[in-house]
Subunit: 242 residues, 2 copies
DNA sequence: CGAGCGTTTGAAATCGGTCAACAGCAGTGG
DNA sequence: CCACTGCTGTTGACCGATTTCAAACGCTCG
């Protein structure tokens, strides 16, 4: 894990292209300039390295600058549950604020870089900038409602529906970031997908094969091409059977 | 749904017995006095009534004063996922802050009463009182990490483990509130439990029967008596408690 | 006291899990 | 450059936990 002090202006929030996803959303130009002073350091992670680990003391949250992370919690018997996959512009570490210790581990799925946002500084600045305060609350709240959608998926959907929803969700998030929502590379393994969706890797693999046979998508290892988004939406339960 | 203006001092946060669970945690006596002005109204709900519904505009969050709520989201095809059961002192409506519309519906499982906490007032007061700000962040963060535990349950545990964890979690929360953690009444139906835990009501019922046969607990309709908490912990897959 | 839920129980069906074998690709080193 | 090795992903056969279907029981409340 590689600490990088932020020196030149090109690295600041005010010029970061992710401003429309991250902490500065809704802030005036002057306010974003103040946020620049909040982030003085970043961390560079190689694939497989961890940004933080379950149990670590927390004094910052992290804004993902590029790359992909998974956050996951581990049970005493070794079973693991992936709670989220995170794309650039998203903030991680939010679940640890409650007791100032990380509740999960964040692992890089590819080479990544994260901005360090010290909690104490964020909180004091949020007291001065109502728009920053509101944005932070929105971010926390959206994390909650995303988790609720995930709960709905795990609790009420069949494996096929869960996987379809997962793909559609990824596609949407890539689209929003200016990447293709039709064709993209999965950064995570079948095992990661299985953990996230509460199913075994064999089931993930079989479902991908089934989707391929049905002409819904093409998949070659981690490269996915969505061929029939309408059909995928139907599988995802927009109008379900049973 | 019955609006109740708060008149006498006995109804204020500074004298509320739930202070140790709710918004005032960590606040000085003077600060709690200020929080008193935040909550000027409460809502009384009869069993089955809703505090808010998915899609409603949000301008407040709610502190549960007494009673029990379930929060749930509904899919277009009618399937429902219960995302949480809420006991006195807990704040609900947090998932709606993100886009100022409720993402879920909150329904009373028994006669209940909730304090209205206007978001705008809460945010402006949080800018003045760092301890209130921190407590609100803790509450949001804990909601996230609870949801993550719930995800772990739905994604990685077998039905038996999920139910055992659910019972232990309820027991702990009742204990914290000064009620018995050994014997309590479930406020929710088998259907609610099934939805929350991602299983059918028949499975819930069979598991209760199995636990009873194993001498782990006694259950008569909604009255539960835990006989062997150690055994229940083992079923739940925990060496110690969380 | 009877109607209607909510709950329990049984039997059959099935989705997804488990076990096992193999295929494909990547990295290593001779 | 290829053989070797290890890791990831695919596929098949079988199994079993949970669902589904069905029926009966027993509270609760009007």
């Amino acid at each position: 894990m590689n600490h990088i002090p932020i020196a030149d202006a090109s690295n600041k929030c005010s010029t970061c292209l992710l401003g429309s996803f991250c902490l500065p959303v809704g802030l005036s130009i002057e306010d974003v300039a103040k946020v620049d002073t909040l982030v003085t350091e970043r961390l560079r992670l190689k694939k497989g390295e961890t940004l933080y680990r379950q149990g670590d003391a927390l004094n910052a949250v992290y804004g993902l600058r590029f790359g992909t992370l998974k956050t996951h919690i581990t049970l005493s018997d070794g079973r693991e549950q992936i709670t989220g996959f995170h794309l650039p512009g998203e903030i991680v570490g939010l679940d640890g604020i409650g007791d100032l210790h990380q509740q999960s581990t964040a692992t890089a799925l590819e080479d990544s870089e994260a901005c360090i946002i010290p909690m104490a500084d964020l909180e004091s600045m949020a007291r001065l900038l109502p728009s920053l305060q509101q944005q932070f609350h929105r971010i926390l709240s959206r994390e909650i409602s995303q988790d609720h959608s995930h709960l709905l998926s795990l609790g009420s959907m069949r494996a096929e529906e869960r996987l379809a929803n997962f793909l559609l969700n990824l596609a949407e998030r890539y689209s929003l970031r200016g990447y293709s929502g039709q064709e993209f590379n999965l950064r995570m393994s079948r095992e990661d997908i299985g953990s996230y969706l509460g199913m075994q890797i064999e089931t993930v693999s079989r479902l991908f094969s089934r989707f391929t046979e049905a002409g819904v998508l093409q998949i070659k290892l981690r490269n996915v091409k969505l061929l029939d988004v309408t059909a995928l939406n139907e599988i995802a339960g927009q109008k379900s059977q049973r």
